[in-house]
């Protein structure tokens, strides 16, 4: 009669057949708190020890392979602990290349001015978008510098270089952080969630009124000054604040609106925004804000500007819902106040590598506001839907197709189609 211990004890037992049994016993011994008592007494312990040694060796080899895979995927796997070293410069690049078609190519408005919607390019054109160079370096544990420099071509086909962001950040506390330099104004959600790299955003571009100052936008997207921000102790509400002091706008047909070096008046723009990310509605954000500036527009009387904002966001791995509203109030000396409401809503749903999205944008720049009628040429009602689909054909590259229908009072209504390849490197 054979011994019951034969499967484990016999070295003659077929190796392939014995392996599951040995692994099972091994797993049992590894899982149990006391392997010596958990194993049957008649197990060949020497053989098991050899097997354990082989498994350990295999695990070690597997870890090495995983590390090699990680390195191959561009991830820096730490081989050993090391203290942070400063400065630690990081570089990322973003760019997009597009094709744009518009049914309004060559159309002039009633005054004979060529149609030039904000943020768009001439119809039936391929165009290179922004070549965005992003640098960040931590100088100390609580100190870092961030720079975003964009090289882009104008509609005159000339390349230009813009320092879009340059700021020194001091982050001593969860509740008190300071950015000093040129930054995106903490106004609403989109403006600080998305910067110049179009790869991050689902749509091919920003809502029209949120376009950059040199592309026809109506809001002070960039500021040069001081931004103080941090969390507000608020339990599950997870509130945070932003308080900013900056050079205001310069509405001048001959120079840029963002006052990088010289402020054209002594008044400073003040911006306050409060946001909340409540625990009871995870992945959501709500916010309200107020911005005030004294404007000295070219050829016009000094103007008092208020911009009020509110937003609600819901953003999960699958769903994206964004809604923002702004109200601009301009009151010129000796005149009554004029109001310009702006709003957009966007919804997107991810299906694997595809993300269809829809956006509706509305702007009504007061026709009695001289800043819009004489300097920006943006007076009137502008609204329309955008429908698009994003295809992430690679982890770091996406192809987007977007259709826009735009109504612009004073211009012809029209359609636009944009195909964009956006990527990061």
């Amino acid at each position: 009669m054979k011994k019951r211990s034969a499967p484990f004890a016999s070295k003659k037992f077929p190796r392939t057949a014995s392996l599951p049994l040995l692994l099972t016993a091994l797993a049992t011994s590894a899982a149990a708190a006391e392997p010596a008592t958990a194993l049957p007494a008649n197990v060949d312990r020497e053989f098991l020890e050899k097997l354990v040694s082989r498994v350990n060796q295999s695990e070690s080899e597997l870890k090495d392979l995983k590390a090699q895979m990680a390195m191959k995927n561009g991830e820096t796997a730490s081989a050993m602990p090391a203290a942070p070293q400063f400065p630690n410069l990081q570089f990322h690049g973003f760019a997009d290349i597009s094709y744009h078609w518009s049914s309004r190519e060559g159309i002039n408005n009633a005054s004979g001015v060529p149609y030039n919607p904000p943020g768009t390019h001439s119809g039936n054109s391929f165009y290179t978008g922004e070549f965005d160079l992003f640098l960040q370096s931590q100088l100390a544990e609580d100190l870092s510098v961030l720079n975003e420099t964009v090289i882009a071509s104008s509609t005159e086909n000339e390349w230009g270089l813009d320092v879009e962001r340059l700021m020194l950040s001091w982050t001593p506390s969860e509740y008190f952080n300071v950015d000093f330099g040129r930054f995106h104004t903490a106004m609403g959600y989109y403006n600080t969630a998305y910067h110049h790299g179009t790869w991050f955003q689902n749509a091919v571009g920003r809502p029209n009124f949120l376009e950059y100052e040199d592309a026809g936008g109506l809001l002070p997207v960039h500021s040069v000054g001081l931004s103080i921000h941090g969390a507000i102790p608020s339990g599950g509400l997870n509130a945070a604040y932003f308080f900013e002091v900056a050079n205001g706008r310069n509405y001048n047909t001959m120079s840029g609106q963002v006052q990088n070096v010289a402020d054209n008046n002594s008044g400073k723009a003040i911006n306050v925004q409060l946001i909340a990310k409540p625990d009871w509605l995870t992945s959501s954000q709500f916010g309200v804000g107020a911005y005030h500036d004294f404007l000295s527009p070219e050829g016009l009387a000094n103007t008092d500007e208020w911009i009020f904002s509110a937003h609600g966001i819901y953003h999960t791995a699958l769903w994206e819902f964004m809604a923002e509203g702004f109200l601009i109030r301009h009151r010129m000396s000796g005149d009554r106040a004029h109001y310009t409401p702006l709003a957009y809503a966007q919804i997107a749903r991810k299906f694997g590598k595809f993300t269809p999205y829809a956006r509706f944008t509305y702007a009504n720049a007061s026709a009695n506001d001289l800043i819009y009628t004489t300097i920006l040429n943006q007076a009137g009602v502008h609204y329309g839907p955008s429908l698009g689909i994003r295809y992430d054909f690679s982890t770091y590259a996406a192809l987007k197709l977007q259709y826009d229908y735009a109504h612009d009072s004073g211009f012809h209504n029209g359609s636009e189609v944009t195909v964009q390849a956006a990527f990061t490197f």
Partner: protein, 159 residues
């Protein structure tokens, strides 16, 4: 003979799963340095810490986030159960967080439990994760929602 083998294999397997269910081998442990002020975190707090939405502990020490090597079970579990993201979304999230200035860099990837444990043990503010059975006295294992790995109802299960 084959029948006997089958029975023994089955018995061994049942024994394994029985032992497995009672210990912490299948749990993902969250580890910090022994001097860290954290002892117990909620699932929500843990997600905020690992998503860099909460940058410092109550002792004022800045969290240094670590992750694990791509393809490891621990990383997959953390992505699914803490970050609630896929690998591509995780990459994009931290790239965007860097872009917006929320973080200075993406979490530092640790190659293996030993490295993760060693880094967390010697680096103030470091927080990471590993298979619960790989944890030892060199690090502190956090309670999550009041439960320690191996305890019934512990939420972070290796998958």
């Amino acid at each position: 003979m084959i029948k006997k083998l089958f029975i023994i294999t089955l018995a061994g397997g049942l024994n394994f799963f029985s032992a497995h269910a009672q210990d912490k081998t299948g749990d993902l442990a969250i580890i910090v340095g022994k001097n860290c002020s954290l002892n117990n975190v909620t699932s929500e707090e843990l997600a905020k810490i690992f998503r860099a939405e909460k940058s410092k502990g109550s002792d004022g020490v800045r969290f240094i986030l670590t992750t694990r090597e791509t393809g490891s079970m621990e990383r997959g579990t953390a992505l699914a159960q803490i970050y609630k993201m896929e690998e591509g979304e995780y990459s994009k999230y931290f790239l965007q967080a860097t872009f917006t200035g929320l973080v200075q860099s993406a979490p530092r990837a640790m190659n293996g439990s030993g490295t993760a444990k060693q880094f967390v043990a010697v680096t103030p503010g470091a927080i990471g994760y590993l298979r619960a059975s790989d944890a030892d006295d060199s690090v502190k294992v956090l309670k999550v929602d009041g439960k320690t790995p191996g305890e019934a109802g512990y939420g972070l299960k290796l998958k």
